[in-house]
């Protein structure tokens, strides 16, 4: 079976394998033999987990070269691997970095690229959910090595245990990669919650939350459900919640099992980031708010009444 390269995304700080990586390995098994590509120092734990989900090999590209320059060193390594192992396909997560890696790799290897796939079948046909989820498209790469970016939470990861061996690869950073240099990384506080794009449940707050203090109500509900916290742009712009939690067109795209929107009106730019959530629950005091169009269950009411009651109920029922 031909190898399928999977860019193994992991937490920049602690090296933990992201769930989307396991989803990509699951999809890759339909197309061939999944082989992971890891940027940074590998770890025993990561190796074991990748093997658990069917990766027989992980190519480890480590060294300052991959972290000192944005995006392009990953393209350099992947392009060399594409030439070496002639993979049946390359799968990368639909993150900002992932999409840029995919686009450049497509140009460099003379391949077609499909972004934001939510499924890929054994013949390589991808499913894309476009125009805010209103249209479902099936598409296929017709030239070169098919390159796909895949949205997180698109498929359930399935284990397929095998023994994974690490194979170091040399990193030869191209001259063009060296043209841009990362001089500083600013890490905003993270808290102990699941990552927004990977969480099964997302609880979001908008302008209706009224201020930074109001977000404690949202956080309590999130914690009762083991959820991630999201925010509308109105809330992040006002400085009530950090920017990296913004959901929407210019924030994160989330596709959780459950999305709870509190005090959010449902502007098209917000919807663009959450419209493919499986179940949507809305709390808003304005019955006319467009967000109700997306609601599976909605309550017209004051979030400061409804949300704390919901949190209490969840805690009661959980005990």
């Amino acid at each position: 079976m031909a190898p399928v390269l999977v860019l193994a995304e992991h937490d920049a700080a602690n090296g933990a394998v992201k769930k989307v990586t396991l989803e990509l390995l699951t999809l890759a098994r339909r197309l061939g033999e999944p082989v992971a590509v890891w940027f940074g120092a590998g770890s025993g734990d990561a190796l074991e987990l990748l093997g658990q989900y069917g990766a027989s090999t992980v190519y480890v590209a480590d060294g300052s070269g991959v972290t000192d320059h944005p995006v392009v060193p990953m393209v350099d390594v992947l392009a060399a691997l594409v030439a070496d192992v002639s993979p049946a396909a390359v799968l990368v997560p639909s993150s900002a970095d992932g999409k840029e890696v995919a686009g450049r790799l497509a140009v460099r290897t003379g391949s077609g690229v499909i972004t934001d796939a939510v499924d890929i079948d054994a013949s390589g046909v991808a499913t894309q959910s476009v125009f805010g989820g209103s249209t479902v498209v099936h598409s296929k790469v017709t030239s070169g090595t098919p390159i796909y970016t895949v949205r997180s939470n698109s498929v359930a990861p399935e284990a397929a245990p095998t023994t994974c061996t690490a194979q170091p690869v040399s990193v030869e950073v191209s001259d063009v990669a060296k043209k841009a240099t990362v001089t500083d990384r600013t890490v905003a506080s993270k808290g102990g919650r699941p990552e927004l794009t990977e969480a099964a449940v997302v609880v979001s707050g908008g302008r209706g939350v009224g201020g930074p203090e109001g977000f404690s109500v949202i956080e309590k509900l999130a914690d009762s459900l083991g959820a991630a916290v999201g925010a509308s742009r109105a809330a992040t712009d006002a400085g009530w919640y950090p920017h990296q939690y913004q959901v929407g067109q210019t924030g994160k795209t989330v596709s959780p099992q459950l999305y709870i929107a509190n005090g959010i009106s449902g502007a098209i730019q917000h919807r663009a980031g959450m419209q493919t959530s499986k179940v949507v629950v809305v709390v808003n005091k304005d019955a006319e708010a467009p967000i109700f169009e997306l609601a599976d269950f909605g309550v017209v009411g004051d979030l400061f009444e409804v949300v704390p009651q919901l949190t209490d109920e969840i805690e009661k029922r959980a005990n």
Partner: protein, 259 residues
């Protein structure tokens, strides 16, 4: 300084977007076409940099005849000149061809900075800036929430999952911007009048030195097999809070096995 801004005409943000049954391409006729929202921020950033450091701003767009309105819109905000790549052969181009066309239109003109929006509102691929940087072999500084120019260097803050990275490069460079970066200006009446007289060069594919057979739908390296409108979601249950709204959601979540 010479600055280029790449802008795309897209269907109006609120318009319902559909694919055409005959060839699975976006219906660009039916809804109103507008300047891609994020590209307004790109134009604004270009104008601010030109105002602060001196220089000229050229708008570059690939699109059908009516995309000329979008080029004019950017000119009315204050850009100096336009390049409109317009050719029937381009219909149905994929990202590969689009990036090749834009790179050809930009190459050899001595631009120090080439500024993009970070994403279009129609196809939403977020790949074109990176692909153009790859083709031109120049630095890529994308997803910027801040751009600063100092001498021959440009530095940005790239929005990341965990916060932001500070990235620096010597010009020329490709930059893409997110909406946090600035507040785009509205064209003034004077700006609108002045835009009518600003030079816009309209170019075809062969004038860019590209082969017409290498662009458009037939040359695309990916193809749509089929598409379908997703059945609209059945209307949900909406209740008014009468003191038990939270409990009712909890019951719903229990039913749905979230609790």
């Amino acid at each position: 300084m010479k600055i280029a801004v790449c802008v795309k005409q897209v269907p109006d943000t609120w318009a319902e977007k559909t694919l055409r049954p005959e060839d699975s391409t976006l219906d660009r006729e039916a809804p109103d076409g507008v300047l891609n929202e994020l590209d307004e921020y790109a134009v604004e950033e270009a104008l601010q940099i030109a105002e602060a450091h001196g220089g000229e701003v050229t708008v570059v767009s690939m699109g059908p005849a009516r995309a000329a309105e979008t080029v004019r819109k950017a000119l009315s905000m204050g850009a100096d000149a336009g390049i409109h790549v317009q050719d029937d052969a381009l219909h149905g181009s994929d990202a590969i061809a689009t990036s090749a066309v834009l790179a050809a239109a930009l190459e050899g003109k001595g631009f120090d900075l080439i500024i993009f929006g970070s994403e279009s509102t129609d196809a939403r691929m977020s790949v074109i800036p990176a692909m153009v940087a790859e083709r031109l072999g120049i630095a890529q500084l994308t997803f910027a929430q801040r751009v600063s120019v100092s001498g021959s260097d440009v530095t940005i803050e790239r929005v990341t999952d965990y916060g932001f990275d500070t990235i620096t490069a010597s010009m020329p460079a490709v930059v893409s911007v997110v909406e946090k970066i600035n507040e785009p200006r509205y064209p003034s009446f004077k700006g609108i009048m002045a835009a009518k007289k600003k030079p816009v060069e309209t170019l075809g594919v062969s004038e860019l030195g590209l082969d017409v057979a290498a662009v458009g739908q037939a040359a695309a390296w990916s193809a749509v097999e089929d598409f379908a409108a997703r059945p609209p979601k059945p209307a949900g249950t909406i209740v008014a809070d009468e003191g038990e709204g939270g409990a009712r959601i909890a019951s719903y979540l229990t039913e749905q096995k979230f609790i």
